[in-house]
């Protein structure tokens, strides 16, 4: 009997554990790490993940983002020069190993993969979300994805299209995706932005709390721009008309007001990458969390703590030639460009500055679009990261695009009306209407240069319209290499993925 009891006991002990072994093995990380199982179970987590995608635009997590999107193309254009007033070495910039070229690429694809994940997770989250919420989440994700493909297509041309969350169980040696024809990328841009434009909230709908998120207007403005690449002028016009119909946008009266840290996301702004002053000491090579270095980069070098964070680094300044191209009466020259000897008092400056003629960058001019003084409310000498937003698209640019669309459609009068609205705001006389294509484009491109200098899209208007070569020759006596119409595909990507094509000439 005793024997049987012992035997039974032994068996029970051995198998007691085996029965509960599955739950025994169900260990969970207990350090607050969130896994797939816990993410995406409510609208908040979808929102939060979407913010994580926007955060990539700030470039704070890998050092590449909107600040570089502004500086690099304008340096390429030659209107912006380096700290020593030397123009950018184009050969080194248009190099497949150039860090900026590589980093931009990576940022866009990072956001694309985040939006792919959002779209995939949204499909599986019907239980947690209302139909309305689902539609809004998808619309915002598609805007972000369409925007990224827009940025990629115009800069790199033939790039791979990735629309699905990566399956990490695929065999290791499987190719990650080869490039497709630029045309197909534009189709994707249009598809995503069209979807986004149908369901995204307008500025008003988002409300003050969500100011800064992508809007229906933003989707339409980029959609119009994308159709321009397609030369689909009818659809482009329709997108423009839809945007105007929203009735949320206008040209501000004063050009200076557009670029304000105090009053961001104005009625003229269509899409802005948001930043906020960060009370951390700025340092070379440092990585802010939510501020940026644009102010310190664009302020004249060593102008002093009163007028610039950290005294000003002058890393990216305008050429005198660019400054001199303006009509002296142009408000944009008077308010937004300052040359040595001129006086400026921007936000955050307790007194006006007359830029000394003796500064090291005496042969340059300075854009005040991003140049602010020490931040309001902070003591001078506190070298914080700046909070100036980067405007990616605004109504003035939209109007100039609309002008081009209208001109292409033969509506010359209306085209000049758009262009002249922008001129009038700058206190200039309107240009006379001309049906001559060259005349119109000279007027249009000049206006773009004066209006959009030191903003993210100017260079791409030159490449899209095929006018970069003439600009280089006329303005800077430079021979344009046709391959410069596109950035090279990063070499590191091609090392990884041999199927990736390279743009012609590289």
């Amino acid at each position: 009997m005793k024997k049987i009891i012992i035997q039974a006991l032994a068996m029970v002990t051995i198998f007691a554990v085996s029965n509960c072994s599955e739950s025994f093995l169900d260990s969970k990380p207990n350090d607050g790490t969130v896994s797939d199982a816990f993410a995406f179970q409510d609208k908040e987590s979808f929102d939060s993940f979407t913010f994580g995608a926007y955060a990539e635009f700030m470039g704070t997590n890998d050092g590449s983002g909107a600040m570089n999107w502004v500086i690099i193309p304008n340096e390429i254009l030659q209107d912006v020069v380096l700290v020593d007033e030397k123009p950018l070495d184009l050969a080194s910039k248009f190099n497949a190993s150039n860090g900026y070229i590589v980093d931009q690429w990576k940022t866009f694809y990072k956001v694309i993969s985040k939006t792919n994940l959002l779209l995939e997770k949204a499909k599986g989250a019907e239980a947690f979300l209302t139909g309305e919420e689902l539609v809004k989440i998808e619309a915002e994700a598609k805007f972000l994805r369409g925007f990224c493909y827009f940025m990629l297509a115009r800069a790199y041309g033939n790039v791979p299209i990735n629309l699905a969350n990566y399956d990490p169980t695929k065999p290791v040696d499987q190719i990650d995706g080869s490039c497709v024809a630029e045309q197909q990328v534009w189709d994707q841009v249009i598809s995503d932005l069209t979807d986004a434009s149908l369901s995204l909230n307008t500025r008003t709908e988002w409300g003050a709390e969500n100011l800064g998120r992508a809007t229906k207007g933003a989707a339409l403005a980029y959609l119009a721009n994308a159709y321009m690449y397609q030369k689909n002028w009818e659809q482009a016009e329709k997108a423009c008309q839809d945007l105007i119909a929203i009735g949320e946008y206008r040209l501000l009266e004063n050009v200076r007001e557009i670029f304000s840290e105090e009053n961001e996301n104005t009625d003229e702004s269509i899409f802005e990458v948001q930043y906020r002053t960060q009370e951390t000491n700025i340092q070379w090579g440092g990585q802010p969390n939510y501020g940026n270095e644009l102010s310190v980069w664009t302020a004249p070098r060593q102008i002093g703590d009163k007028w610039a964070i950290n005294g000003g680094w002058g890393e990216a300044v305008l050429t005198r030639k660019m400054a001199d191209s303006f009509d002296p009466a142009d408000e944009r020259r008077k308010e937004l460009v300052k040359a040595p000897g001129e006086t400026y008092q921007g936000e955050g400056m307790s007194e006006a500055l007359t830029i000394p003629l003796t500064i090291s960058q005496k042969n340059s001019a300075f854009s005040t679009k991003y140049w602010y003084g020490p931040w309001p409310g902070t003591p001078e000498g506190d070298n914080y990261y700046g909070g100036v937003n980067v405007i990616m698209m605004r109504y003035a640019e939209f109007k100039l695009n609309y002008a081009e669309i209208l001109f292409e459609l033969g509506n010359t009068d209306l085209a000049y009306e758009q262009l002249n609205d922008v001129r009038v705001r700058a206190k200039l006389a309107g240009r006379p209407t001309s049906a001559d294509r060259e005349t119109f484009f000279i007027d249009l491109m000049n206006e773009r240069r004066w209006e959009l200098n030191f903003e993210p899209n100017l260079w791409f208007h030159y490449t899209r319209t095929g006018r970069a070569s003439k600009f280089f020759l006329d303005e800077y006596s430079l021979t344009f290499d046709p391959k410069w119409n596109k950035y090279p595909v990063p070499q590191s990507e091609r090392d990884q993925n041999p199927d990736l094509c390279q743009n012609e000439g590289y």
Binding site: V17, P29, S35, F51, G52, D176, Y290
Partner: protein
């Protein structure tokens, strides 16, 4: 400690091995010489002892037990020959015992023979080779008996040894000792030689001469094949082991002074490479069994102490408590540990109490340690001369302070940083026990001072091992081990700011202590700079260099303590005969505390140097808890010549780890701990909570069957199925099978005539094991919402909204790293055990190794890598262990040598974009040209990768042909490997490897009368070291930035015009970075032979020790690391894995990189071993 005999079972050809059945000693095996088939008549009067017995249908065994109980007689027999389960009926009253036995075995072929108080039972029907019959004392013809010798045979503890065979050499004349170890034998005369042999003991030959009394002590035979080897969840006699298992015994472990038992394995076992990662007290050790087993994960073996996987720190186990260590090397042996077996398994068995007399042991030593080696640095005058030359050669102003080199003082910073320090170890242990309960209790204290100021180690350990027998079928027991240690460290293993490299750079003309009035006795340091800088320019004195003496003693402190409790309780029930159920529950708790204080330096110092202007205090706590429950059912059965055993077991383990770190910046200047009451004065920064916190669990099912036919054909099959929480539900389980076979050729009849061969076994094994020691939850995609660093700005109020982001993309199919291994082995004992040989050849294929697979950033995968099972590697090697044991005249001599080879090849690196895995070992990427190791397919893991030095550029022609720009005559020239006329980073190539191709150890022991001497050496060959200290000491300009530093005496031979040197570049402040590039100039031969331990002991004669109630007393002197023969120019050629800024995570890829490693000390010790 009394040497146990329970494990002894020596195999001697053609003998019959007998099991002594005794109620007192559960299992004692004794060698009995083969006997003839002749009927033996009991002549001894013992057979006339009268007994009464009355048993009906009782097993023979019970009858024999009853006889043993009534008399003092003991039966010896082999259960394979004597069927003791046979039922008999006996009924005797006051009958001579001989008659009773005869009646019991009536009608069988079993005969019996009295040998003293022992009764040997044997099967007379067995055929015995007459050649092998050594003796039959009862029937041997003794031709001319002229002399009678008697005496007593004792073990090394002075306890009588019964059953020892005493034979007159060259004859068949012999006897065996009785229960008191006494014998009496008539021999042929003065020329006779007596041979004393006993299983598990070294055979002794003693010439008789005129002596009539010969008392001897027999020493245990450590090379014996009769040992019982611990194999995991059980044990096995060594003779039938079919896997590759290496073992060391208590003697090996205790003969050397070590902090942890892992160190004690160094040089002792073929195929087991033990490297001290740091010579600092309590420093870590890296153990690699059969090479590197992983590319990204740990390659340390699994440690199992008394059957429990060790969850805590190795330093928590007192080496003095260890009875033996067995290392499972091949996959077939390690498969019993399944998913944790890839890197081998180290099984540690601690001492337990034994039935018998209480023994008290005291083992103590005290010693002094000092530095074995200093590197050759410039002295004051040499430095001053070269320093000004360095400046002048660059066209810079020289330092007037160095103008008269001859009159410069010379301060030896190495002397200042190295110190002599003490080492001591004191251990008291008590072993006692009765038949019912046995206890082993020990108390240990170990203290080791540091060779470098500011480091030391102190440990206390307590162990209590208990065993209880409840009735005949139930055993229960427990194991308790508590350890506490404290440690202070001085940071050496660091690629920046290591003490030793900094010390080498400090100017020898600077006083270590200030000699300025009012600062007497104050450490020289940045205070001193104020004094010196009066006539200095910034080029003269580097501002990034600490006065390490000052820093270590006054400003920085790194302290750690560890409290660890390992407790286990077990119960074993014998359900039916030989069917045992055993359940063990283990609870391990480990708590570590670490703090680091960097005190604020006064403003005048902190403004100049690297000291902090506010105190920083960091405190960290971590704890590891483990609960492990093991249940097993084992069974053994012998049917005729078929021996079978089987085991099934279930093992469930849960492990929790938590870690908390608090940084307190701006702590009060004097603060050495966080003072809650003073929270105002400091801010807590950094990760004040959290830190990694993780857990895993493992459920395993284990099965093993061993079978042998007549000890001749051997088979072991293991299988383990492991389920681990580390993997996704679908991939949790893995099965790890193994099989091994052995053939003992020496048992075959055709081998019987080969008398020189005592034992010969061939083994083949195959097994599959895994490595589950990977990061927990690596199969999860993880998301983070790192508030404050991953945010976006929204709304008119510019609110910061936190963004969740995907932290890592995981491969949900991630699984164990796998290893399959084939092993071919041979074990032999020759010439009566004079020679032993064990050789193994293995091929270890490692597949599914985890590696970071690169992905195109188009996929947006964080970091563009996913950890996947996609690398493969192969290790092959030959391992040879040789033993020699012989009495040479009056000297007992033994030699044990081991030698192993390792060939390593990476066979697959799937998914790596660049076709290789690169690991930086750079000190300063800009100046050393990105020093790194590279691991290519088809080559070894972690090859040093850099430029090849091609001498020194002698003239301007050579400058223009150098392929580099900006060079001058006197600069280093590199080979243009990819011949394109330009030397650039494409011209880097493989320079060497830190994994030794050969490792070896040699232990020589000699005993003469009461003296014993042992010499133990170990070493490695065909290995390179990347001597990164050359980056610092090969140039006088600090990091190629600002300031002059001291350097190696090689600088005296600097190039100084055409033809002056082809090795040392010009000595100039302005030389190109390329002179410091990581190149073949850094690569040195890392081979060494080290006299690790030389020990001379004297055993006090028992006449004296007995008076002091001691059973044994020995005193000894020992020297550790007495000599090291090497060509390596750094401190110590024993370089483990590189420690990159405190992280050893990629250690496999940085083996053999020396950043100025804490060297091993030379130690002289005086010790005693006492037994009461």
């Amino acid at each position: 400690m009394k040497k146990t005999r329970l494990s002894c079972r020596l195999y001697v050809p053609h003998s019959v091995s007998f099991t002594r059945e005794s109620p007192l000693l559960s299992m004692i095996a004794v060698l009995l010489l083969a006997v003839s088939s002749l009927q033996v008549q009991a002549k001894d009067s013992l057979d006339q002892e009268k007994i009464s017995i009355n048993k009906e249908s009782a097993a023979v065994k019970l009858v024999l037990k009853e006889i043993e109980r009534q008399t003092k007689l003991r039966f010896f027999y082999n259960t394979q020959q004597v069927d003791v389960k046979r039922k008999v009926t006996v009924s005797f009253k006051d009958t001579p015992v001989g008659d009773v036995i005869e009646e019991v075995f009536k009608g069988t072929s079993i005969h019996f023979k009295f040998a003293g108080r022992q009764i040997l039972l044997f099967d007379s029907a067995l055929q015995v080779n007459p050649d092998k019959v050594l003796t039959n004392p009862m029937t041997a013809e003794t031709s001319t008996t002229v002399q009678t010798v008697s005496g007593k045979v004792m073990d090394e503890q002075g306890q009588p040894l019964p059953g020892v065979n005493v034979i007159e050499k060259g004859t068949t004349n012999g006897t065996s000792t009785d229960a008191d170890g006494k014998y009496n034998l008539s021999v042929s005369g003065e020329n006779a030689v007596l041979i004393f042999s006993f299983i598990g003991y070294v055979t002794e030959e003693i010439p008789v001469g005129t002596k009539t009394v010969i008392d001897i002590k027999m020493g245990p035979d450590i090379t014996s094949l009769s040992e019982v080897v611990v194999t995991g969840y059980g044990s096995q006699e060594k003779k039938v082991v079919t896997g590759a298992v290496a073992s060391i015994s208590e003697r090996d472990i205790s003969s050397i002074s070590v902090t942890g038992f892992d160190q004690a394995m160094q040089g002792r076992m073929a195929g087991v490479q033990v490297t001290q990662n740091s010579g600092e007290p309590g420093g870590s050790v890296s153990v690699r069994i059969r090479g590197v087993g992983s590319i990204n994960n740990t390659t340390e073996p699994l440690y199992v102490v008394d059957g429990i996987p060790l969850a805590g720190n190795l330093n928590g186990i007192n080496p003095n408590d260890i009875e033996r260590i067995d290392v499972l090397k091949d996959a077939a042996s390690a498969a019993i540990y399944g998913s944790r077996g890839t890197n081998g398994v180290v099984l540690v068995t601690t001492k337990r109490g034994k039935a018998g007399k209480l023994t008290l042991s005291l083992n103590s030593y005290v010693g002094v340690q000092n530095s074995a080696n200093k590197v050759d640095l410039l002295n004051g005058p040499q430095f001053a001369k070269l320093a000004n030359e360095n400046l002048a050669n660059a066209g810079l102003a020289t330092n007037p302070a160095w103008d008269n080199p001859e009159s410069q003082p010379s301060y030896d910073w190495q002397d200042a940083i190295f110190q002599s320090s003490s080492i001591q170890s004191h251990n008291v242990s008590v072993g006692s026990g009765s038949e019912k309960s046995q206890t082993f209790f020990s108390l240990g204290y170990f203290q080791q001072g540091g060779l470098i100021i500011g480091s030391d180690f102190e440990r206390y350990t307590v162990r209590l091992n208990t065993d209880y027998n409840i009735g005949n079928r139930v055993k229960v027991g427990g194991t308790f081990n508590v350890s506490y240690y404290e440690k202070q460290t001085s940071p050496t293993d660091n690629n920046y700011n290591g003490i030793l490299t900094n010390v080498a750079m400090l100017q020898p003309t600077m006083p270590i202590y200030s000699d300025v009035d009012g600062q007497n006795g104050v450490y020289y340091g940045w205070e001193g700079y104020n004094f010196i800088s009066k006539n200095s320019s910034v080029d003269f004195y580097p501002t990034g260099l600490n006065n390490e003496v000052h820093t270590n003693l006054q400003y920085n402190r790194r302290y750690g303590s560890n409290l660890q409790l390992l407790a286990a309780a077990f119960a074993e029930v014998e359900i039916i005969k030989e069917l045992k159920f055993r359940s063990t529950l283990n609870v391990s708790v480990g708590n570590s505390f670490g703090d680091q204080t960097q005190r604020a330096a006064p403003a005048e110092i902190s403004d100049i140097g690297q000291y902090r202007n506010s105190t920083k205090y960091t405190e960290s706590w971590d704890k590891t808890d483990q609960v492990n429950w093991i249940n097993s059912l084992s069974y053994k059965r012998t049917i005729g010549k078929h021996n079978l055993s089987a085991l099934v077991a279930m093992d469930a383990l849960k492990n929790n780890y938590r870690y908390v770190n608090v940084d307190a910046a701006n702590a009060p200047e004097e603060q050495f701990s966080i003072d809650a009451s003073d929270s105002e004065s400091r801010t807590v920064s950094g990760s004040k909570t959290g830190g990694p916190s993780t857990n895993y669990s493992l459920v395993s099912y284990i099965g093993r069957v061993t079978y042998d036919y007549n000890d001749k054909y051997l088979l072991t099959v293991n299988v383990r199925r492991d389920g681990s929480s580390k993997f996704a539900p679908g991939n949790r389980y893995g099965t790890f099978p193994s099989a091994s076979v052995g053939w003992r050729l020496s048992e075959e009849s055709f081998m019987q005539s080969v008398r020189v061969v005592n034992d010969l076994k061939m083994r083949i094994s195959y097994g599959e094991v895994g490595n589950q020691n990977i990061q927990n939850f690596a199969y999860y995609n993880t998301y983070s919402d790192n508030r404050g660093t991953y945010v976006y700005v929204l709304g008119t109020n510019q609110d910061l909204v936190s963004g969740i982001y995907l932290n890592s993309v995981a491969d949900p199919t991630i699984h164990w790293e796998k290893s399959t291994q084939v092993n071919f082995g041979v074990d032999a004992a020759l010439m009566n055990g004079m020679f032993t040989l064990s050789a193994d050849y293995y091929i270890k294929k490692l597949s599914d190794l985890l590696g970071n697979v690169n992905y195109s950033s188009v996929l947006g995968i964080p970091g563009n890598t996913i950890l996947r099972n996609s690398f493969s590697m192969e290790n092959k090697g030959l391992e040879i262990a040789l033993g020699f044991n012989k009495k040479l005249g009056a000297v007992d001599f033994s030699a044990n040598a081991n030698f192993s080879t390792l060939s390593n090849k990476v066979t697959k690196l799937n998914g790596v974009a660049t076709d290789y895995v690169s690991q930086s070992i750079s000190v300063n990427a800009n100046s050393d040209g990105n020093a790194s190791t590279r691991t290519y397919v088809g080559d070894r893991i972690g090859n040093f990768y850099g430029y090849v030095t091609d001498g020194i550029i002698q003239n301007t022609d050579e400058v223009s042909n150098s392929g580099m720009t900006g060079l001058s005559p006197g600069d280093r020239r590199y080979k243009d490997i990819v011949v394109d006329g330009v030397v650039d980073d494409k011209d880097r190539t493989v320079l060497g490897n830190g994994l030794p191709k050969y490792i070896f150890g040699l232990n020589l022991e000699a005993k003469y009368k009461m003296f014993d001497l042992s010499v133990f050496m170990n070493g490695q060959a065909e290995v390179e070291i990347a001597n990164m200290t050359k980056f610092y000491t090969g140039n006088m300009r600090f990091y190629n930035t600002t300031g002059i530093v001291n350097g190696s005496t090689d600088l005296l031979k600097s190039w100084n015009g055409e033809g002056t040197s082809n090795e040392v570049p010009r000595n100039s402040y302005n030389t190109p970075n390329s002179n410091r590039y990581f190149s073949s100039a850094y690569i040195e031969n890392g081979a060494f032979l080290r006299f690790r331990n030389v020990q001379l002991g004297y055993t006090v004669p028992s006449a004296i020790s007995g008076k002091l109630k001691m059973t044994n007393a020995r005193i000894y002197v020992a020297a550790q690391n007495l000599f090291t023969f090497t060509n390596y120019t750094g401190y110590d050629p024993e370089i483990g894995s590189g420690n990159i800024n405190g992280s050893t995570s990629q250690s496999q890829l940085t083996t053999g990189v020396d950043y100025g490693r804490y060297p091993t000390s030379r130690t002289f010790m005086l010790g005693v071993n006492l037994q009461f």
